[in-house]
Symmetry: C2
Subunit: 219 residues, 2 copies
Amino acid sequence: MNESRKKIAVLGGTGNLGLALAWRWARVEHEVIIGSRTEEKAQQAAAEINRRTCNGSAHGKENAAAAKAADIIVMTVPFAAHDATIETIKPYLSGQILIDTTVPLKPPKVNVVQLPETGCVAVQTQVLVGDKARVVAAFHNVAANLLNKDTDIDCDVLVTSDDLEAKKEVMQLSDEIGCNALNAGALANAIAAEVFTSILIHMNKTYKTGHAGIKITGL
Amino acid sequence: MNESRKKIAVLGGTGNLGLALAWRWARVEHEVIIGSRTEEKAQQAAAEINRRTCNGSAHGKENAAAAKAADIIVMTVPFAAHDATIETIKPYLSGQILIDTTVPLKPPKVNVVQLPETGCVAVQTQVLVGDKARVVAAFHNVAANLLNKDTDIDCDVLVTSDDLEAKKEVMQLSDEIGCNALNAGALANAIAAEVFTSILIHMNKTYKTGHAGIKITGL
């Protein structure tokens, strides 16, 4: 049993990134609650994770119920659904850590940075939730297809927050699943990781790979 | 003699980044014109470079005269001087490649991203110069103190432009001085490299180093 077992809700947890993160946390025996717009899909995804881990750590709920039950909430919904999902869970926030992984991609030109009018997504998230959650931004640049395999991750995770304790906790959760976490400073710095994803998508195409990532050198 | 010898004007070439780039290009026998607000300071910097390279490839001029004489113009002035410098050289632009290295740092909080109202600096540069120059953004993330030494550079250079030929030429100029160039897509993607510098400054302090850099993995 994981001695520091957390209840982690992964909203949008039926998508590629959410499912992969949820599987990795379930594998190290955190309690994982897959959140989805429909409970049935959430439960199907949880069952898939439980088949892979054989430890029964995952279950599924609607997004709002998942958020309500969790210590830590992870946003892995598409950018277009970001604000609406925040509104859905806002009544159930009570000081939890809210990990925002959202990258502001606007199809079809996902390989070109298109900055939202409100600027940094994670800062906007903190504005939307006020003091009802402690926003930490992370996991923008790591390839979901790598995360979803039993393989090493050659990509650093840039972790930003204005709450130092919350940031440290998320860095530990990242390290536990094989993603080397780095303290990347204030929440406003999340914009660098958010917009970087378009460059990685561009490079995946230009250099014909499927998992471009980023490492900080010289540390 | 460098067979593809270029005339490269480095505006703000008396500063740390400009001087280091100028020295590296002079060393591989490009003709380097240091640009500064005062011709005297430009000539002093050029003399210093010539002492180091012993090949007399560098000379110095005022910024406008330097730009006028060059095939390739490199902007290495502080962000606060960026727009004014563009205005100074604009009358002398006639289709040159304009390499913009500018990062939007606003002292004293240089370790926190502070996005300019106009967004991406390099895109704004292209707006300011119109069709009088082909803007390529590069060299935002490489530590000047490393560039200025005879050492390997463990940092990729993200090169962005809307002009593919200009981008290729700048990638070659980067590779020639030991900076591994990567095609990072459209000029709008320059914002990722621009804002990333605040994260590297933050990491230099947090992880007690002086030359945090960035490598793309998985290519």
